[in-house]
């Protein structure tokens, strides 16, 4: 209950940010429109009575008011055509902002957690929830008010008419059940729908058209899709009929009640106990009961759904508050140092992912000296990515700590540490923006600085990529939202990702995770020669450390320090000469690769 109230308060607050008076006008017009039928019924009843009583002046005044009422409803409806979507669009944009800000303020590992992912998935599909919740609450209140007034008017005429709403109870029940059934249905067939959509996209995608043709799998894909789709649609058909039958029956039941009420009213009028106007009024009041009751039932179901969605967002926000509290529990956060004197040190670091049985990293003690280029080597699953994530502050170790000079990383403001670091990932994002932005977001404050972006592109040996584009740095990239951009090859995307990582000229820590996997040997060497000059500059200026993860030993061997990981442990470390002399895992893997070139 309290949670529901919070969700409503949050949503109304968001709507109020549209502007106080705008929000008020919006709310008032919605309430007015919901109740205009009642007002109209009251006026027309008096109008008919005035006509029957031959009271000309009164009839004329009421008649003209009725005409003006009908016209003003049209005017309000017309104004809402522009006003309503405006409110919705503003609320959407503000909610998007908050959702993005909250999500990105969560650390990466929390972002990926299933309980967060589930909620984000639902929020992504129901972004209008705060607007809808406010709307549903308003509609609920005005319908309820309308219903109460109608029932009171009916009862004041004849107490027997108070029975009529009871005839509507089955309708409320059937409608509520229908709404719930459809919500359950959505969940029940969500899996099939997602699968069907996945198969549909594969069959219609340009990128996957080659495989579909070469393997001749088109007809198979379509028949798989059809099976799933038909199954889901059939379920929806069945539920549709199953829930429609009780609703129709309840409608007929209410109809019987209405017929009884109408007969009662007419008989009373014929006995002289009611005026003609009364008959008109009571008839329209009784007829509107079905709309009011059905509407209330539908809206309460809807209200519950959208309230749940907003609550999911509030849960996310609470999770963030909790995370912040954990961060500052050990004292105030401090800014990142401007330069490294000694380096970064891992002290007794063990990290186990939630739900994993064995640690990804176990008991690691490691010193990365300031100004050094450090290579991480190991087979798939050795713990290299976990180690880099810990250094970047994207993960908090489950035991031990990371130390920047003599400062624990945990005490450094995460945002400041992010500003001091940079990264090139193997599974880098393909940001489908204008090329200048795709690179420039590596250093947002300088995103419009063309020479700087150009320089980063050159450092990444990506000039040829940019020169191949029709409009150079102004070319849009990708086609996923109809921006008409060029679709790049894997190697080209990777070089732009490297350029993005090199936007920051003197980071304290630069992590490059397989930055050349998709590149040929020449491009790889161009990259490393142009890049290493920059790295040395950074090392000289700020003592910045470069951490390189690579399967290519030809590149690894030139690092100042090579760290060999195996099953989450550091098994060897030293420079190339030392490790070869040691004759361990490094030497074995190196020889294996080198033998291909002898």
């Amino acid at each position: 209950m309290r949670k529901g109230w919070n969700a409503l308060r949050y949503s109304v607050g968001l709507v109020a940010r549209v502007g106080r008076w705008r929000a008020a006008v919006w709310a008032l017009s919605l309430i007015l429109l919901q109740n205009v039928g009642l007002l109209g019924a009251l006026i027309s009843a008096s109008l008919i009575d005035a006509i029957v009583e031959r009271n000309e002046p009164r009839a004329v005044v009421l008649g003209i008011s009725m005409a003006l009422l009908l016209a003003s409803v049209q005017v309000v409806l017309c104004l809402l055509l522009s006003f309503q979507p405006k409110v919705e669009e503003v609320v959407l944009a503000r909610f998007d902002e908050e959702l993005v800000a909250t999500t990105l303020a969560l650390p990466a590992h929390l972002h990926a957690a299933p309980e967060v992912q589930d909620r984000l998935e639902q929020l992504r599909q129901q972004r209008s929830a705060p607007h809808n919740l406010t709307y549903a609450a308003l509609a609920f209140v005005s319908l309820a008010a309308n219903l109460i007034v109608s029932v009171v008017l009916l009862g004041s005429f004849s107490l027997i008419l108070l029975v009529l709403p009871l005839f509507g109870l089955p309708l409320i029940y059937a409608r509520g059940k229908q709404t719930r059934s459809f919500i359950n249905l959505q969940q029940e067939i969500a899996q099939d729908r997602r699968l069907a959509l996945g198969l549909f996209r594969t069959s219609t995608s340009a990128a996957q058209a080659d495989e579909v043709r070469l393997f001749g799998m088109g007809p198979t894909l379509i028949s798989r899709w059809q099976t799933v789709r038909v199954r889901a649609d059939h379920r929806a058909d069945v539920v549709g009929v199953q829930t429609a039958v009780p609703v129709a029956a309840a409608e007929v039941f209410f109809g019987l009640g209405f017929i009884g009420a109408l007969t009662l009213i007419v008989r009373q009028a014929l006995r002289g106990e009611a005026t003609t106007g009364d008959v008109l009024l009571l008839t329209s009041l009784a007829a509107s009961l079905t709309r009011l009751l059905g509407g209330l039932a539908g809206i309460s179901g809807w209200l519950g759904t959208v309230m749940g969605t907003v609550q999911r967002y509030l849960w996310l926000r609470e999770r963030l508050v909790q995370h912040r509290a954990e961060l500052t529990a050990e004292g105030e956060l401090v800014p990142a140092p401007t330069a490294l004197r000694e380096g970064i040190r891992l002290v007794g670091v063990t990290h186990t992912y939630a739900g994993a049985e064995r640690p990804a990293l176990a008991d690691v003690d490691l010193h990365l000296p300031a100004g050094a280029t450090v290579a991480l080597v190991g087979e798939n699953g050795a713990g290299k990515s976990t180690l880099t994530a810990l250094l970047l502050g994207l993960l908090d170790p489950s035991e031990g700590h990371v130390q920047v000079d003599d400062l624990p990383l945990r005490q450094i403001d995460p945002v400041a540490w992010n500003d001091a670091t940079s990264v090139v990932l193997q599974d880098h994002a393909k940001f489908e923006l204008v090329t200048q932005e795709t690179v420039g977001i590596g250093l947002v404050p300088r995103i419009d600085d063309r020479p700087l972006v150009q320089a980063a592109v050159s450092r990444a040996a990506a000039d040829s990529v940019v020169n191949d584009l029709p409009e150079g740095l102004d070319s849009p990239l990708g086609t996923s939202y109809g921006q008409g951009g060029r679709d790049l090859s894997g190697g080209q995307w990777q070089r732009l990702a490297v350029a993005r990582g090199l936007m920051r000229e003197t980071p304290l820590l630069l992590v490059m995770d397989e930055p050349t996997a998709a590149l040929d040997a020449q491009a790889e060497s161009e990259l490393f020669s142009s890049y290493s000059a920059a790295a040395r500059r950074a090392a000289g200026a700020t003592g910045g450390i470069t951490v390189l993860v690579s399967h290519r030993f030809s590149t690894v061997r030139s690092a100042d320090l090579i760290v060999v990981l195996d099953q989450g442990r550091v098994v060897e470390q030293g420079n190339h000469g030392q490790l070869m002399a040691l004759g361990g895992l490094y030497a074995e893997l190196y020889d294996l690769q080198a033998s291909g070139y002898r």
């Binding site: 031959r54 004329v60 016209a71 017309c78 104004l79 055509l81 522009s82 006003f83 944009a93 998007d96 993005v100 800000a101 990105l104 303020a105 650390p107 899996q191 997602r194 699968l195 069907a196 549909f200 069959s203 340009a206 996957q208 080659d210 043709r213 070469l214 393997f215 001749g216 038909v230 058909d237 429609a244 609703v247 409608e251 007929v252 109809g255 017929i259 109408l262 007419v266 002289g272 003609t276 087979e379 699953g381 945002v415 500003d419 599974d427 590596g442 996923s480 008409g484 993005r500 590149l519 040929d520 040997a521 020449q522 060497s525 030993f553 893997l589 294996l592 690769q593 033998s595 291909g596």
Partner: protein, 639 residues
């Protein structure tokens, strides 16, 4: 139908496409459509009849009351009461029936149209079809959600829901006209103004999607990207939160503001016009009518009938449902356009008198003669005259720098793109004279971005040869050869494990594991009859040990003995094992021979190989990146 250049299926015009969608509804489900339409018609007529019935009922009351509730006047009231009750009771069921039928119709139609889109996307034989911007635009309209508001089925189901009140309004006009032609004209004016004006406002509203596309879609893309897990690390390290916020919020609203001004201006004008016509005409009419009725010149029944008719006219309500109907109608046009383009492409690709290839072709060779390829819209050739003969059963490695045209050559070899110059001959037969679909099935490709199907591990391998998919032993064998059997047996659920993290109980594999599955799929295609196997960077995600072993094992595999294998790779330690190496440089073949021959020839290959080898040379100081930029120096050192 003549071809129209660059259509814009996203542009909305009322009624445009709606007719086509209606026709499609009738052909897809004639009975269901007729039933839904009949319900809509009843729903349109019922309010008019009910309004007239109550007008007569209430109009007859005063006389009956005066007569003391008995006699002819009272009997008339009872008769009318029974009519009104029957109408009301009958009318109860129709909306529910209509909703059920319309929902069913919408689903049926959406399903059928989605299937037609899939067929249309698969009909064209060649990939160039997807380069066409018209094709891309049409697909993007229906790709996002094949059940939702953008689809014609949803539009038609909504259309039958919203058409009722509009027809009732017209009924109101008719009632007015039956009393006085002048009243009828006035009613018609208000009706048309309401309908046309509000529809026009709604189209302006829908302009959100078209006019503000430039700012709207990037904002949407960024929002989705920001909430995705994939780029989560980069977004945080680069501190992109506030930048993305600005894009999805402030920038988006700034762009929307322009649209709002246009919308507001129109809506204000319309509101003023409505106030003057509806309010003015209404006040005049009601002033006249109430006077007449109150002085007894006009019967109460007539007054009420006119009164109710006016209410029906102004109940012509336009809302979001109408917008959905229009949206879906637009996508109907896109689907038909897609089918037209697909049929045209198919006609173009059709080989008039296809030459039959032996089922074992290539038995002798695949020959490229002066092969050229230029992508549509590009200003230069990617392949600039490739001459190459690949004897059947050969293991050939294709090397070259990024962008040399290796992958493009593979798509031409597999018949996915017809060359824009020169020919491909298989056992002396020009591929242009062979049914392209038959040749495509002869080539199995493991591409760099092979598909991760959201299906079971079994299907992910088995789809390599759909007609053999029931053969469990063959699927198992392909997986074993590819080194994927161990990975699959360790999965929870084994072969039945669903390989998609977004489906309940689904599993995601690592890049290296996926690469094994992809290889198994390609090997299964060979088991299904493919005679040429193309492996495009098959080891990029594998670690050192796996990489070193893979190609050696593939070469030795007995089942691949007569198969022509083309390996594309940057890793020279793998490449050198091939019996023949071809160097592609800027779209032409520059070198061709065995590893030993090419090293001896001291050309491009030798320098590239030496360059990579030198990095492992312990005597040289080539590990120092200062010198490594100069390729020629290194080549000398390496040789």
């Amino acid at each position: 139908m003549p071809a129209q250049p660059t259509q814009q299926p996203t542009k909305l015009k009322p009624g445009d496409g709606l007719w086509l969608a209606l026709r499609s509804a009738f052909t897809t489900a004639p009975a269901l459509t007729t039933g839904t339409a009949l319900c809509a018609l009843v729903l349109a007529i019922e309010p008019v009849v009910f309004a007239l019935a109550t007008a007569h009922l209430v109009g007859s009351l005063p006389a009956a009351i005066e007569a003391g509730g008995v006699g002819e006047a009272a009997d008339r009231v009872y008769r009318l009461l029974i009519l009104a009750c029957a109408l009301f009771g009958f009318g109860r069921i129709i909306p529910t029936l209509q909703g059920t039928l319309a929902g069913r119709l919408g689903r049926r139609m959406n399903g059928e149209l989605a299937r037609r889109v899939m067929v249309a996307c698969q009909t064209p034989v060649h990939l160039d079809h997807f380069d066409d911007p018209d094709v891309q635009a049409a697909i993007s309209l229906v790709r996002d959600d094949t059940t939702g508001v953008g689809m014609p089925g949803t539009a038609i189901s909504g259309f039958f829901g919203v058409i009722g009140p509009k027809l009732s309004g017209l009924g109101g006009v008719a009632v007015l006209a039956s009393y006085s032609l002048l009243f009828g004209l006035g009613g018609l004016l208000v009706y048309v103004l309401l309908l046309v004006g509000m529809l026009r406002a709604l189209i302006l509203l829908a302009g959100t999607d078209v006019a503000a596309r430039a700012s709207f879609l990037p904002a949407e893309y960024l929002r989705t990207t920001a909430l995705d897990v994939g780029p989560a690390r980069e977004l945080r390290v680069f501190g992109l939160s506030s930048w993305v916020r600005g894009r999805v919020g402030t920038n988006y609203l700034a762009a929307m503001r322009k649209l709002w001004r246009r919308r507001d201006a129109f809506v204000l004008g319309l509101a003023a016009a409505l106030l003057v016509t509806t309010g003015g005409l209404g006040a005049l009419l009601f002033n006249y009518l109430t006077r007449e009725a109150a002085t007894g010149q006009l019967s109460l029944t007539t007054f009420l009938a006119i009164f109710q008719a006016c209410s029906l006219i102004v109940s012509v309500n336009i809302n979001g449902e109408d917008l959905h109907a229009m949206h879906g109608a637009a996508s109907m046009k896109a689907i038909l356009e897609l089918e037209r383009l697909a049929a045209a492409a198919r006609e173009k690709d059709d080989v008039p008198h296809p030459v039959a290839l032996s089922p074992l072709a290539p038995e002798r060779e695949v020959r490229f003669e002066g092969l050229r390829l230029r992508h549509s819209g590009a200003d230069h050739d990617v392949l600039r005259g490739v001459d190459l003969v690949i004897p059947a059963g050969q293991r050939l490695a294709l090397v070259g720098l990024n962008g040399a045209g290796k992958t493009t050559l593979a798509t031409v070899l597999s018949g996915l793109r017809p060359p824009t110059g020169g020919r491909v001959l298989v056992d002396g037969v020009d591929l242009a004279t062979v049914d392209p679909t038959l040749w495509q099935r002869r080539v199995a490709v493991l591409s760099q971005d092979f598909v991760h199907y959201p299906l079971s591990a079994y299907d992910n391998v088995g789809l390599g040869a759909p007609e053999l998919i029931g053969d469990r032993a063959a699927v198992q064998e392909a997986a074993e050869r590819a080194g994927a059997a161990g990975i699959i047996s360790r999965l929870e659920g084994g072969w039945d494990a669903v390989l998609s993290p977004t489906l309940a109980g689904g599993i995601d594999l690592s890049g290296g594991q996926w690469q094994r599955i992809g290889l198994a799929r390609a090997l299964f295609a060979v088991a299904g009859g493919a005679r040429v196997l193309v492996l495009d960077e098959p080891t990029s995600a594998l670690d050192v040990r796996a990489e070193a072993a893979l190609f050696r094992e593939l070469i030795a595999m007995p089942s691949l003995q007569d198969i022509t294998v083309v390996l594309i790779s940057h890793r020279f330690s793998s490449v050198r094992q091939a019996g023949r190496i071809v160097v592609l440089d800027d779209g032409v073949v520059t070198e061709d021979g065995t590893h030993a021959e090419l090293v001896a020839a001291d050309g491009r290959y030798a320098s590239l190989f030496a360059f990579q080898a030198a990095l492992f040379n312990d005597t040289g100081d080539t590990g120092d990146t200062d010198d490594s930029g100069d390729l020629d120096d290194l080549a000398v050192q390496g040789a």
